[in-house]
């Protein structure tokens, strides 16, 4: 279930930091880029879900999934994956609720990122 994944997988963030030679400033910059992009993707997801447009929901969900996974936002990545899959399979039932869950999970993720001292 979506609630099982942590909001922030610190192992992923640590691995990311290691992969760029310990460059904390770069990781922070990447996180700020993510926080600038994600709200727009979520807006697209919510808009597509509210109109039951399964085709339109796939791309923003897919992009949100991969960027969230790259930065350790595991729970949001999992929800985005579920939304992408539902969109690809044409399953519009319950999509609006899942889209709302994506938004609330994103807000909780921002709080977790801030609490972890990962922001500028």
């Amino acid at each position: 279930m979506s609630d099982e994944a942590p909001l922030l997988d610190h192992a992923v963030i640590d691995e990311l930091r290691d992969s760029v030679g310990g460059d904390t400033a770069f990781v922070t910059e990447l996180i700020e880029t993510y926080l600038a992009e994600a709200p727009g993707q979520i807006d697209e997801i919510v808009a597509a879900a509210s109109s039951g447009d399964c085709d339109a929901i796939v791309r923003p969900a897919h992009t949100l999934k991969s960027s969230s996974a790259s930065l350790g936002a595991a729970r949001l990545a999992q929800i985005a994956r579920e939304i992408e899959l539902a969109g690809r399979e044409g399953r519009s039932e319950g999509l609006a609720q899942t889209a709302d869950s994506a938004r609330s999970t994103y807000e909780a993720t921002v709080e977790a990122i801030t609490a972890a001292g990962l922001r500028l």
Binding site: S19, V20, G21, A36, R59, H62, T63, S66, A69, S70
Partner: protein, 138 residues
């Protein structure tokens, strides 16, 4: 830096700034400079002007407008571009997508999130092969 990466420039094509930044950073550690395009149309516009400067294209699949499949097809059907190595880097991990891209002429297909070590190995391999073909053509 190896012979195949020296002086090389990559074109990163992805609608996500997070993905573009991360790829650019990992390429930088390989000694490879990079330019970026936010979608397939921007990539083809860039290649129309700068193809001679590009050694490899890293191409996302799911993008707005012209997606990765259509962009790959456009590159491989253009006489001036078709020898350019294109490495697909995508969160679409279905076997059918991988097979489709390879059949269309992609040099390789990497899943997202990508492993930087594997990325480096596959980029170096593509660049080395391109260098060999360029030398044979001289």
């Amino acid at each position: 830096m190896t012979d195949s990466t020296r002086g090389a420039t990559a074109l990163i094509v992805d609608d996500s700034a997070v993905n573009r930044k991360l790829l650019a950073r990992h390429l930088e550690t390989l000694g490879i400079a990079s330019d970026e395009a936010i979608d397939g149309h921007a990539a083809l516009e860039y290649l129309a002007e700068h193809a001679a400067d590009v050694a490899v294209v890293l191409l996302d699949v799911v993008m707005p407008g012209l997606d990765g499949y259509a962009t790959l097809e456009a590159i491989k059907s253009d006489e001036a571009l078709r020898r350019l190595p294109v490495i697909m880097i995508s969160g679409v991990d279905e076997q059918a997508s991988v097979a489709r891209c390879l059949e269309m002429g992609a040099a390789d297909y990497l899943p997202k999130p990508f492993n930087p070590v594997i990325l480096g190995a596959r980029v170096r391999a593509s660049l080395a092969e391109k260098r060999m073909h360029d030398l044979e053509a001289e």
